[in-house]
Amino acid sequence: MAIAKILGIETEYGVVGGPDADPTTASSIIVNAYAQQGRTRITWDFNDESPGTDARGIIGVGSLAPTIETHLANTVLTNGARLYVDHAHPEYSSPECATPAQATLYDQAGEEVMRRALRAANETLPPERAISLYKNNSDGKGNSYGTHENYLVARSVEFADVVRAMVPHFVSRQVVVGAGKVGAETDVGEAAHPAFQLSARAEFFEEVVGLETTLKRPIINTRDEPHSDAERFRRLHVICGDANMSPVATLVKLGSTALLLAALEDDGAAQFPPAPAQPVRALREFSFDVTLRHAVRDETGRTRSAWDYQDELWHLARRYVERHGGAAVAGPEEVAQILAQWREMLDGVRDDPEAVADRVDWVAKRRVVEGFQSRYDLAPRDAKLRAIDLQYHDVRRDKSLAQRVGLRPVSPDDAIRHAVAHAPESTRAYFRGQCVTRFPDDIVSANWDSIVFDVGQGPLQRIPMMDPTRGTRDLAGALFEENSTAIALVTALNG
């Protein structure tokens, strides 16, 4: 039986402006501006961070483990999320969510957190030094930053089977969930010279499997840092996705991936279509081909387009749901919604793009780009078209083009506002969120799998939370009702 697909998204935002135009300074101002609004002053605890651990067991020569920057602004929010400076970007890592729709909601809550942080920061800056934030993945000049998905996977699944099963999905899902991009910005991208491509990220990938996230980026990242009981869990860290502005696209990106992972856990890797013989090449070539006709050969010699792969994977996911019900991913209504949207978007991009311009980011963006191109008779990749691409992702409502193209919502605005301050109730994020909300003065630090209390007497107390499916409202709600002080809570947990 597949384990619950606890999941979430971490997003690095593009940042410009600030007092000295330095992105690390601007990012720190953003994070501190939000923290100083009185929401939290609790720092992040790096005790469980081991991003250099490789899921394959051995670390290859030349693999670079990411460095952890402990001196930069870093905080825990009452909704269970982490808001911090990662390299030269402000990053929002959503709390652990129970379903794809919930993770979509908390991704949008992250946009709202950035919007509020930006407003607070810019109130302290002169207009010519104002900061801007973009939920995108590159600067158009060859520099890229990530939108990473995380999925809880049973440790019992062989890592080789994760690779075997998921590569076909990761190279092809861009036909429905790509964010779209004007032009190209890497050597390999420039060589293909696309006017417009499906994915913002695809051209930055150089390996099939690997540990790095900044150099020689791999389609399957082997970072083995489960932030939970490593005997039972893996955290699949997916780094090849685009930052979506369309919430339905986020839902389908997460939902399709979670369903396929559940199918892998329950029925194994043999049912999956064979990967392209050259996956990295396939990922890029699919991105460069907006006609969706380009097909690549698999190891057995059969050819498929990205669309064909998605069609086959959709049928696999539907068969899985018919057989097993999909409860590991979400309730029946949500699972049905994911399958229906995935199908409609897949058929739409091929047969009637206009019909899915309200859900598929690359279609929505391309429609505006081509509209401008023909209205003003512009050359492909004209600066104005690149500006549209960039401004599509602007965090500010009054500037964002994504706000204007009529994207369908997944959650109402009041639910998003609620999620800014309140944690999901059916994962351990509930426990973290309650602690941070109720006892901010007694917590020294927190991270994904523990909270450190200083209750004023005796040593610091670390409360471990090694199972992401526990610490829920059902399991811990009474604990908070019965214990109104941190010392009472810690005593009860230790008793």
Binding site: S144, Y145, L390, Q391
Partner: protein
């Protein structure tokens, strides 16, 4: 009805159906074009004025 007549009738029906479809498609196309024009007007009003400079100044350090 002879076989010939039946085929002709079917053809006639299909032609009528096709022309109905076409007029719907044309009407839908005009409506979509109108909607896109309105959208482009709206975007024109908020788009950064100096696109060249806006795009040139957007430089990021890599992340992750």
């Amino acid at each position: 009805m002879t076989e010939q007549e039946r085929i002709q009738k079917q053809r006639g029906e299909r032609t009528r159906a096709d022309s109905d479809d076409l007029s719907i498609v044309t009407k839908k196309g005009e409506q979509l074009k109108g909607e896109l024009d309105d959208l482009l007007d709206e975007i024109d009003a908020v788009l950064e004025e100096n696109a060249e400079e806006f795009v040139r100044n957007y430089v990021q350090k890599g992340g992750e």
